[in-house]
Symmetry: C2
Subunit: 206 residues, 2 copies
């Protein structure tokens, strides 16, 4: 593990085993961090361990991320960016929800860090803008529900939809739905769920 030996980008430069400049240390640290977090959560993250994996000295990561919080903030910002691009091209609200759940499954580390505010640098510019972008994408999906004639007001519908998707995704990542949904495809289960709840079909009939 650790350093790759494959042919690399020009930035990787020159010759041999241990170049002084890593080439793309920032990306390497990020990738390693995502692995660790996906496996054992953010609390298992150690800058020194990441440095070891990348084959650099223990203080190298600090140059790219300032500190632990900086690294996690960068991950969250990247996550919101990815989420925004995933949701922006949704065909409707239900599809946006499905994409939300899919994002959480495909990027569990990002997802977890994004929604753990005490790990992040409040007010970081990149984070704030990326989050706003994702927020806009979600709002767009909600607004497209129906231009007029909503049963409940748009803001409430947004909260409802977000809660449903976020709760499903969170419980899924925490393995709390392993029992209830078994080996069924989670995204398909969610689609069914969302369809039933938002189409107005009653869950019970007197």
């Amino acid at each position: 593990m650790g350093r790759t030996l494959l042919p690399m980008s020009p930035a990787q430069q020159s010759s041999a085993r241990r170049p002084y400049h890593h080439g793309d240390l920032r990306r390497a640290i990020l990738t390693a961090a995502l692995d660790v977090i996906a496996a054992d959560g953010p609390s298992a993250l150690s800058l020194r361990d990441l440095a070891r994996r990348a084959g650099v000295s223990h203080a190298a990561p600090a140059h790219h991320f300032k500190d632990r919080t900086g690294l996690l903030t960068a991950i969250a910002a990247e996550g919101f960016g990815l989420l925004a691009t995933a949701v922006i091209e949704a065909s409707d609200l239900r599809d946006a929800g499905v994409r939300y759940v899919r994002f959480a499954r495909e990027h569990p580390a990002h997802f977890q860090v994004m929604f753990t505010p005490e790990l992040l640098r409040t007010g970081d510019l990149e984070l704030t803008t990326a989050r706003a972008l994702a927020g806009d994408a979600l709002s767009g999906a909600v607004a497209a529900l129906r231009p007029e004639g909503l049963g409940i007001d748009t803001r409430l519908a947004g909260v409802a939809a977000w809660s449903l998707a976020h709760g499903f995704a969170t419980l899924l990542l925490g393995h709390n739905l392993d029992g209830p949904i078994g080996d069924k495809d989670p995204e398909e289960v969610f689609r069914t769920l969302a369809t039933t709840l938002f189409r107005g079909e009653p869950t019970s009939r007197p």
Copy 2:
């Protein structure tokens, strides 16, 4: 802060300033831990800091909780117990959801730890039984929806309800709903939400 000087339970024993035995160190550590977690999250938790707050030596907490994971596991177990008693006396599914949200607001530290599995000792007996108890309480509320005639099967309805409540609670604690719901009472908002979605009133009308 730190040690209290008020009259205490008999266990507090004898005379003066610094009794060798604390009296109820276990509870004191737990309470301090909940304060820290509610304020700055589980990653800000330090056993040595808790010991300092309780006025005991740095290794004292270990005797009650074995290690950091043990402390967090105890918190999670306590949380599932509290959740179970809160949900067990719900009048119906909607009320159970409201109680779920209320629990998250009144016990944010418990809630956060309960659903962060990588911080917990998997297979701990107290935790497992408490979790099962809470699970039963929730299942009971779902089963009481309607004995028969559900629009979707019971298991799905349970997942939907849990997702909605859990998502709402999680987003709430992360201050992600501060904008959308403003200063409105969160539990009331959730009640409205749940009523609309589960009563079968459509969110949109052609």
